[in-house]
């Protein structure tokens, strides 16, 4: 436990240093930079790129969560069950469309910038959240649901007080997958001029500067690892509190 904490703190510190004090890493990245070329990306501050990158990911994930969970709630009601295959197809299409294609198609409609990236991340994030929310809401302990009805909870009360809280750990897993995918995918947004950490990577690729590529990749990777870890922690804490869900 303590070793895991130390490791986590070290990763956080490394990430903060990379973002806030990139100059410290000149000796590390210098061997990868072209002869006489710049070692540290300086056209924009890494901090502002990181914030804008995270902002896009958060916005897209929140929107995908709202839509996917609402859809999952609708199709797990008796009246909405017939729409389950249809909604599954729609979210599946969102997932199979390559993000790059979405970007290319969205640019004519939304112009360059953050817009097309948000659309791509949103569509890409729907499926894992939807699938997990449907699983979570469909696999609730029957005795608990029967009792909830039997003691006089209304439909809304059952949803808010029992179904969603009990499905929450499973839904969170979906949100985690979605957010981590979005964190990586957001980098390609820079090809259509969204401000993300992808800018650093793309600049590196265009100028044959491996130091830039490493820098951008490392920051995105660390964000992804730490986000994943934080959400796993949250899920385990919730799951532990509920104990055995089947309540045998």
């Amino acid at each position: 436990m303590t070793r895991a904490l130390v490791f986590r703190a070290a990763l956080c510190a490394l990430l903060l240093a990379l973002v806030l004090r990139p100059d410290w890493f000149v000796p590390v990245f210098a061997p990868f930079a072209p002869e006489g070329g710049p070692v540290i990306y300086a056209r924009a501050s890494l901090l502002s790129l990181s914030l804008s990158h995270l902002g896009l990911v958060v916005l897209a994930t929140v929107a995908a969560t709202l839509v996917a969970v609402t859809l999952a709630i609708l199709v797990t009601r008796p009246a909405g069950a017939v729409f389950r295959p249809l909604s599954r197809t729609i979210t599946n299409i969102g997932q199979t469309f390559p993000p790059v294609a979405v970007l290319a198609l969205a640019v004519p409609a939304l112009g360059f910038g953050a817009g097309p990236t948000l659309v791509a991340l949103f569509l890409y994030g729907l499926l894992p959240i939807f699938e997990n929310a449907v699983t979570g809401l469909a696999a609730l302990p029957t005795a608990t649901m029967e009792a909830a009805r039997g003691i006089g909870l209304t439909r809304w009360q059952r949803l808010w007080r029992v179904e969603l809280p009990l499905a929450l750990p499973v839904i969170l897993t979906g949100i985690r997958l979605s957010a981590v995918i979005a964190l990586g995918t957001a980098t390609i947004g820079s090809t259509v001029a969204a401000r993300t950490l992808g800018e650093v990577i793309i600049a590196g690729l265009l100028t044959n500067n491996t130091a830039y590529v490493l820098q951008g990749g490392l920051v995105v990777g660390l964000f992804a690892v730490l986000l994943y870890d934080a959400m796993v922690q949250l899920e385990t804490r919730l799951a532990r509190r509920f104990g055995n869900l089947t309540g045998g």
Partner: protein, 311 residues
């Protein structure tokens, strides 16, 4: 008083419950017993409208259940089921206080009620109030489930195989608890079970269901002595009938004057246990005491006379 008036339920043209009428007195336990598929659970679930009756009506203290919104009706009727159905994400206290909370009781009153019920069920409030259901044993979870059903002092409590998931020893204790608590609170309880032993033991009245129909409704003694149909006779178990009958009668009913040797039995002991004591200790008569004072004896012959069938 609960009046069930010619209530029926059809599924796909088949009568699952077929025109059942019965009246349940306040402050009694009524056990509905039958094999699986007899319609006993459907009958119970029609009382709190988890299943809507196809025809007929149920009146609770004269008021038809159809007059209320289903969720409002259910808040007035306690409901306890097999496998307890507790909310795993709520503490024991919140689980028990669920219905009072729905009814808008003030927090102070809910807390007092939760503690009162936990104490009644022999669970120290300070120790159990803030635990989660997963941290309790099966017997404790079941007690919390029954406590939740009783929390709002309902007019009626429905129990669907409440002890079905418990092992025999815990089950016997849970049945004793229920009897004691029902006496203390004066609750009206309707309980579904497939176990005739449990029905006879717990019920002031026993209702036997077969193929959707109520085939007999009477006191446990009536059911055992004069089963209405072959099915009821089979349910009360041929060879065990005399013993079941004896288990309903306390020693005080047949105590007589006279001497007897050996360890005494209480007046409240049932005749089956008294018979068992006679056989085990090889005696023909047992001394009887009430609160420690001798009141006479009970003889093997007198016990045998009470165990004889009607013809």
């Amino acid at each position: 008083m609960i009046e069930i008036d010619r209530i029926s339920k059809q599924y796909e043209g088949r009568n699952v419950v077929d025109s059942v009428s019965m009246t349940v007195e306040t402050a009694t336990i009524t056990a509905i017993v039958g094999t699986s598929g007899s319609g006993k659970t459907t009958l119970l679930r029609m009382i709190n409208r988890l299943v809507e009756p196809s025809s007929g009506e149920v009146r609770i203290n004269g008021q038809p259940t159809g007059a209320l919104q289903p969720h409002e009706l259910r808040r007035r009727i306690g409901y306890a089921i097999q496998g307890h159905g507790l909310f795993p994400h709520h503490t024991v206290g919140r689980n028990i206080g669920a219905v009072p909370e729905l009814l808008g009781w003030p927090g102070q009153k809910i807390r007092a009620r939760v503690d009162e019920l936990l104490t009644l069920f022999g669970m120290e409030p300070a120790q159990f109030r803030d635990r989660y259901p997963a941290e309790l044993s099966g017997g404790q979870q079941q007690r919390v489930g029954v406590a939740r059903a009783l929390a709002s002092r309902p007019d009626l409590m429905l129990m669907d195989e409440p002890f079905g998931a418990l092992d025999p020893i815990i089950r016997a204790r849970a049945q004793e608890d229920l009897r004691r608590i029902q006496k203390t609170l004066g609750s009206t309880i309707m309980l579904v079970t497939h176990d005739m032993e449990e029905a006879i033991h717990l019920g002031d009245k026993v209702a036997v269901m077969d193929a959707g129909r109520l085939v007999q409704y009477g006191t446990p003694a009536e059911i055992i002595q004069r089963p209405a149909t072959d099915f009821v006779a089979e349910m009360v178990g041929g060879v065990d009938r005399p013993l079941r009958l004896l288990s309903l009668v306390p020693v005080s009913e047949i105590v007589e004057d006279g001497p007897a040797e050996g360890a005494p039995v209480q007046t409240s002991t049932n005749l089956r246990d008294a018979l068992s004591t006679c056989l085990w200790s090889g005696r023909d008569a047992l001394p009887v005491v009430r609160d420690g004072a001798p009141v006479g004896r009970v003889t093997l012959g007198a016990i045998r006379a009470r165990a004889e069938g009607p013809e």
